[in-house]
Point group: C2
Chain length 341, copies 2
DNA sequence: ATATGGTGCGCAAACGTTTGAGTGTTTTTT
DNA sequence: AAAAAACACTCAAACGTTTGCGCACCATAT
């Protein structure tokens, strides 16, 4: 029994009235009499009428849907963020269209197209770590599809974004290590292409100069965030003239790779070599050797804020306020959290 | 400059031909001449024409979208599953509409309605653990919206599902430990209320009897899956007459709690006390002391299979094959995976 | 009796696309 | 040379909804 859903047209026919009357009756339009309104609602209820959203989408030119593009759903940070996005969107009666780029620039571009074709009302994006061209986002502006970036934001001028300021957190992290007596502090940083990489470096330098210590560039090494890359980076640090007694790593994953490797090298974690990291992943609750502290980046909060902003933009757009001069640039201050061992 | 997207109509007007010709030209319909076809495509390209999906949705009565309802996005199992679902759907050019129930039956019902209104072509569902009524799923059948359940499947008769059988994996796990010479094998099981707890216990007993060993009930203890509960459970096991030399834990989290605690007790992990667990969480890649083996529940595979089935159902539906007698009931055998240390 | 105004509803266009059924030309077949 | 077939394209309906405008009707005020 695959009874096709009831339409407004059928209701109109049964009641012997016009479709427009039915439509208005269902929307409590004042120009419809009480009796007909009741009749319509009663019948609609009996026939289990449900408005066909696709028709409404077409009619209104909007879908009440927001697209989300992020690198990797199974990463703790993003799964937490998407959870927040869905929660927030749901409350405002929006639906979430989801896609992951797997850090593939090409796929990211295709996804933007796809989202555009699906006529999402707006887009939430965390850009892939390899993405180097950003034309595909520019093109969205032409179509008046608002985009809010979160966490991994592109180096573009006029964009809305919410991100975590890594600089403050990094300053805190380095200061924390300095306070604990370390002087040779290494850093395993991310790829040069990422904004976050620069921020961490800046924070590192600022923390050093603030404490009137000279900055040794050889103590900062890049890595591609893979396990092998991390090993290589650690090797490089350990081989440098001023062997570091503490290391700030790009994120918890890198930290754990490094710790695992360091243990293989018979290094006593958090005694001979102390770690501080970013992200504050839940998994460190389950572990023995973990970074002494982590810079929390508040993924849930970021997702929430970004969604709030996007929905706000959509509301303003609807009301035709065309002062497109203001850009939301929300910075959530990262915060160093000391891990209880 | 918010130029509205180009439509087929505009192209037709500029070229002085009809919209149907443009539509057919873009679809390489044989009845359109080569020259017009070229002209159309060229102009469409120049104007950056993108078909309006919402119009196509309405026209074709299908959205090329599948809805996914699951309890909690931020849980590792589900974030891995949703990752698989998105990947698989993307390959077949489907899009994913996402929502989480937070194990709330009421919200789950609302989400089903919402998905229906959005005219998703099909639905993928992992039911909340508190859901006790399943009427909201029944109603989907009337509208001919196929549903495939995965992992957490409801007690309904005629449904498609893919799930994981825990008993086999447990038998393997216990047999694995027996083969390695253990005779006193403990089990830290879950709460008695959970179905999965019973499955594990059954598997344990079957493995023992299969190997003609007597089953000692005192070697199976319950715990509430928290860190403290795990500690208590481990204490209980270690205090029993036949002190176990190996332990099967309800899941990886419990295993890691237990391992962490055992280390505090100066027990040599995987030498004095060997662990086997369930889930095979990715986080063990980052860790030093991990269970020797884990019963893998294949979240990615489950998501993938479920999506494959759903897309298959959709394809068959389109081709009008109305033999709705067959139901997919895929059991993925859980499998013991030895962890490389 | 005529204007005024409110009430309750219908008409038809619009959103952008697909597609079955024509229609007029040209080419091929017999 | 006439009939048949192939070609290239157009018309218009359909998908389900919303909404500006128009129209009839009745009640009240002039």
């Amino acid at each position: 029994m695959q009874s096709k859903p009831t339409t407004i047209k059928e209701i109109a026919q049964i009641l012997g009235i016009s479709v427009s009357t039915v439509s208005r009756a269902l929307h409590d339009h004042p120009s419809i009499g009480l009796t007909t309104r009741m009749k319509v609602k009663k019948l609609a209820d009996e026939l289990n009428y449900e408005p066909n959203q696709t028709a409404i989408f077409l009619q209104q030119g909007k879908t009440h849907t927001i697209g989300v593009i992020l690198p990797e759903l199974s990463e703790a940070f993003f799964s937490s963020a998407i959870s927040a996005i869905e929660d927030t969107a749901y409350k405002k009666n929006y639906t979430v269209l989801l896609a992951q780029s797997h850090d593939d620039e090409q796929k990211e571009k295709q996804l933007v197209e796809k989202m555009k074709n699906h006529r999402v009302d707006g887009l939430l994006v965390s850009v892939g770590k390899n993405t180097s061209s950003f034309q595909h986002f520019e093109s969205l502006k032409k179509y008046d599809i608002p985009v809010v970036f979160f966490d991994r934001i592109p180096p573009m001028q006029n964009i809305h974004y919410v991100a975590c300021n890594m600089e403050i957190g990094t300053i805190e992290a380095v200061s924390y290590l300095l306070k604990r007596g370390h002087r040779a502090i290494g850093m395993i940083n991310g790829p040069q292409t990422m904004v976050a990489t620069g921020e961490r470096k800046e924070g590192y330098i600022k923390a050093m100069t603030k404490n009137r210590l000279k900055f040794d560039p050889s103590l900062i090494v890049s890595c591609d965030l893979t396990e092998d890359g991390t090993k290589a980076a650690l090797d490089e640090l350990l081989a440098s003239k001023r062997k570091p007694t503490a290391i700030v790593t790009f994120n918890d994953y890198v930290a754990l790779f490094a710790i695992k490797y360091a243990q293989k090298l018979k290094i006593n974690i958090n005694k001979d070599l102390e770690f501080v990291s970013y992200a504050n992943l839940p998994l460190i609750n389950y572990m023995e050797n973990i970074p002494a502290a982590s810079v929390e980046q508040f993924p849930y909060l970021q997702g929430q804020k970004a969604t709030d902003i996007l929905l706000d933009l959509l509301r303003n757009k609807q009301q035709g306020s065309n002062e497109q001069s203001a850009y939301y640039k929300i910075i959530i201050e990262s915060q160093l959290i000391e891990n209880k061992q």
